[in-house]
Amino acid sequence: MILNMGPQHPSTHGVLRLLLEIDGETVLRIMPDIGYLHTGIEKTCEAKFYQQVVPLTDRIDYLCPMTNNLCYVLAVEKLLGLEIPPRAQWLRVLMNELTRINSHLVWLGTHAMDIGALTVFLYCFREREDILRLFEMASGQRMMTSYFRVGGVALEPPLGFFDKVKEFTVIFPGKVDEYENLLTNNPIWTMRTKGVARITAEDAIALGASGPTLRGSGVDFDLRRDMPYSSYDQFKFKVPVATEGDVFARYIVRVQELRESIAIVQQALEGMPEGAIKADAPKVVLPDREKMKTQMEALIYHFKIITEGFAVPAGEVYQAVESPRGEMGYYVVSDGTAKPYRVHMRAACLANLQLLPNMCEGRLIADVVAAIGSIDIVLGEIDR
């Protein structure tokens, strides 16, 4: 029998349609059908100035807007050859790790809810709310933050922001213990996840998996540590790896990442450098408001950047960062004008989704639900 799962199915995390060929409860074949959320963002980018693309990148993966911002601005900065002041880089790391926690919390809550553990969802969204408030403090927005700009970050965080982050880092490890108490040794949870949707390291690499999905299969690779960007090389953190390659292994990797991320946030708070938050490049970075009121030049640059954008030297760059879901890559091609010639996003989820048939064929329908949750897909990123 052929069965449609989705596109409006609560456990497909958005609008993913799966065509299941089943025999009783057993899945014989599985065909993902995507594209329901395709908005043509890559095409839209080609018609915008470089700085106008930043808000579009938020909307690709709505669970980790900052990671997308970061990847895009790093690519453009590489094209421009801009040097970013240390404070801006550390702020970016701080925000990125909070974003990772935010994204993992949504994943954990919804994944557990799919499998039937409803309480975890409420716990996770309680802490997520704290992070969204922090984002709102810094950027004025809870979700579509657009906080990073080409050349730095948009604003200096307001007074009291770092204290609030510190409060959060103090309480959060205890909260992770709470989630783990509910799940890790829970017999129902382990039965639903252990040995389910296995994938070997060779298959994961061949199919292009990345992030926790790859590390859950025993491949020790993390772009933050192995190909550092935005001063990640100055932070000390462990990269959690599990070898079983099943749903439980991916769960363990992500839960440990929550703890590592909060440790990075703590380091960022303790060592946060003083200084500028924007690069010294008047033709690219918008001037401060105060300067615009007193200096003619600043006013002219502001007018020029807003109305004409800034030209980027011709060339091409592929910048990859470790998003909560894996390797997020931006390939930006410039033809020397103020608008990008081509912006391509390498979506980690698109590659990770290809693992699904490999994981689920020959198993039960209920395992498909667990498998979809464990690869942590965001359809906005897949379809773009």
Partner: protein, 165 residues
């Protein structure tokens, strides 16, 4: 920091494992190379793409075993019009390389690399869908993001941003 000028001399770039290996393997396949902004791009003759990818994947000293991405750039109206781009990564050696293939606008066809990396499947389908490049030997070359009955390939430069109304 000012941008360093791009290096395009093959002799000077031989230090990079990917280029050295490809030149050793089949120097006719390599058309040109460019090192710009710390990234190496190698342009490959379109008849050798699949074999060049397999050679890089199986290179023992620095195996480019991971296909990060396959995409395309449309240089309309110049010819050859399309550039199909492969971003490869060596997980062990932490090296990246970019392969490029130039295809003409009339019948853009290139051999699929899905037999080298099964993970290239969706990426190639996306390029087929949005650019209209055909990949021979692909197991399931159908539209992936746009509806099945869509006309045209939206990411081509002669396709209007607002679409046809």
């Amino acid at each position: 920091m000012p941008l360093a000028p791009a290096i395009t001399d093959l002799e000077e770039l031989k230090g990079h494992p990917a280029l050295a290996h490809l030149l050793n393997w089949n120097s006719k396949a390599v058309q040109s190379a460019k090192f710009d902004r710390d990234e190496l791009s190698i342009t490959i003759d379109r008849f050798f793409v699949r074999d060049a990818c397999a050679a890089l994947r199986d290179y023992a000293d620095c195996p480019f075993n991971y296909c990060s991405d396959v995409t395309c750039v449309d240089w309309y109206p110049s010819e050859p019009r399309f550039e199909v781009i492969y971003h490869l990564l060596s997980i062990q050696n932490k090296e990246r390389v970019r392969l490029k293939v130039r295809l003409d606008g009339n019948s853009p066809v290139v051999e699929s690399v899905t037999s080298v990396w099964p993970g290239a499947n969706y990426f190639e389908r996306e390029v087929f869908d949005l650019f209209g490049i055909r990949f021979t030997g692909h197991p399931y070359l159908r539209r992936i993001l746009m509806p099945e009955d869509w006309e045209g390939h939206p990411l081509r430069k002669d396709y209007p941003v607002e679409g046809y109304r």
